[in-house]
Amino acid sequence: MTFRWLSVYAVTFAVSVMVLIGFIGWSVTGRMEVESDHLMHWEMFSFDSIGDHDLPDAIRRRMEHEHAHTGYFGLFKADGTRIAGDILAVPPGITFVGKGGGLNAQGFTLNHTLPIQDTARSPVVRVMAEHRADGSQLVIARDLSDILRIREATLNALIGGGILFLLAGVATGLLLSMRQVRRVRDIHRVTLRIAEGDLNQRLPTGGRDELDMLTQLVNHMLDEIERLMNEVKGACDGIAHDLRTPLSHIRTLLGNVAGRMRISDDDSATRMLDQARLETDVLLDRFRAMLRISEIGSLRRRGGFSSVDLSSLVREVSELYEPLAEDRCIRLSLKAGNVPSINGDRALLFEAFSNLLDNAIKFAPDHGEVRIDLMKLGQGTQLVVSDNGPGIPKREREAVLQRFYRGDQVRHLAGSGLGLSVVSAVIRLHDFALRIGENGEGAGTSMTIECWSHALD
């Protein structure tokens, strides 16, 4: 990403330097051409003031002054025969300036093609020509070699300077962007830790630029989020705690009342009291489960993590529930291949797997079947617990993971409806994923735990 920006920057920089060089070169040398055109034009004027008869002599005199051969002259008859001067022929294809011409008469540049006396090789020249009153043709040329040399020198200087400039610019840009890249990398690392649940972390600040403004804003936001989360968690835990104490008091009092009632023998009242105690127990169970979920959620990540052998763990869970399945003639089959160890909290995983298996056995019909499959996939290990019970309709699959949800078809069964929320809290803590599907054979539920990190999904 950053390197894409860097190359875009370098290309833009290079193009602007080249345009600058081009512009300077063009304007400097263009100016010089205009200057020589002016000179030639003035020379034309001075020749104009000389009579046709005296012109050849004037040209010869003029030529004697031009020892350095910066100027060339030629006077030709209308048919092109040379009368005077060191230009041997009228160069082909040039336009003649009208007599007296405009002030800005323009010359032509001839590239080594002007035939000149005594010179082996014709230089690059600027040429201007006019028709005189008697029909003869006057051609004046100026050597451009000096200008070309200056142009070349200027261009070389500009290109050399430009390359240095470009290198310095790119190097500075690279240094500056490396600094930014490092900061962004720091921010990225801290953000990941925050996403993992460590809300104490704050983004690094101290650049006094736009990025810093942004990180300070995000940090402020994190402060708020942390405060709110603590408040919500505090409120939830507080409610569960505060309600639990009076509830257990009610339970105790009901027990005391029941003790007294046994002395009198009002059967229906005793039954009602038993029912009331049972309901209180259910309430207390739910509060306990709720607090447990909140506890799992607030556990410091990775705190109790160590290497866990999933196949032995699954075998242990299966052994724990096997008698329960047998009691209801449910066939419990376990297929646990050799899988690599994972990093996790063994006790919590045991609790989660137990809950899954408990559910499967609970929802499977008598003489039904529950299967546990632990297998190694490309991404990692996968655990599937499937039963041939009523199954969970598609629209309820999200909802069953929420607290207290119980499907329509299983309302008659005992339980707090919190089992799967415990599972999902444990799964979240491990960054694993839980998928609910149907058993391949048409009916029933299959619960799949994907035991690899889904943190970046």
Partner: protein
């Protein structure tokens, strides 16, 4: 000689429940409602057992426990807490607590745990014991051989662990939670009648038809091996 129990608990209703329940079971209970008095009593009192609430006005339970152990008081301590967190439990046990119970608790569970704690502390653990015996049952701890009236009983590993635990606490009420914690080593509520089913299997193997049951169910509490 009656057993003297100190309970440090700030909630009067819970304390009342503990006191009445324990007195019913024949303990001599003394109640203290705050941490400072609790610590003073615990250090000077000569109690057989201390029940300690985690959250108290004044000194909190963990501080009291650490202080007690630092000054060399070795009285067994049962921690009581509204927090069921595994971390809290571990911290409590590390600080020198002997057992940990989450509130609200079943009074029967409390009494069962106290009995086990008391027994554990009174008996000098004999390391050279290789067999356990209870009535017609005998367990060889080394070969893991179980016999009833001299006849060998074939048990699965889980069944053996349940039986061994029951034999070690012969004559004491063992609750389902205690069994789950001891035999499986996990601290959550497995729910349903999971433990009952395991116990049923074990019983089927050790009580053949016509024999009197060795392990009995205590209604509302758990099991007892007589």
């Amino acid at each position: 000689m009656t057993t003297r129990v100190l309970t440090i608990e700030d909630d009067p209703l819970t304390a009342n429940e503990i006191v009445s329940e324990l007195e019913k079971s024949g303990f001599d209970v003394h109640w203290v409602a705050n941490g400072n008095d609790g610590l003073a009593q615990a250090v000077s009192g000569g109690y057989d057992l201390i029940m300690l609430d985690w959250m108290l006005p004044g000194l909190d339970g963990l501080t009291i426990l650490t202080t007690l152990r630092t000054v060399g008081v070795q009285t067994p301590v049962l921690m009581l807490s509204a927090l069921g967190d595994v971390d809290e439990r571990i911290r409590g046990l590390r600080a020198g607590g002997d057992d940990y119970l989450t509130k609200p608790f079943d009074p029967a569970e409390l009494v069962a745990r106290l009995e086990v704690l008391l027994r554990r502390c009174r008996e000098v653990p004999a390391s050279n014991v290789t067999t356990l015996q209870a009535g017609p049952l005998e367990v060889d701890l080394i070969s893991r051989k179980v016999t009833r009236d001299g006849l060998e009983v074939d048990l699965l590993p889980t069944e053996y662990r349940i039986l061994e635990f029951m034999m070690r606490h012969c004559g004491q009420v063992i609750t389902r939670t205690m069994l789950f914690e001891e035999v499986w080593g996990y601290h959550f509520d497995p729910g349903t009648n999971l433990i009952d089913v395991h116990m049923g299997r074990l019983r089927k193997k050790i009580d053949l038809p016509g024999m009197s049951p060795v392990i009995q169910t205590v209604r509302g509490s758990g099991y007892i091996l007589l």
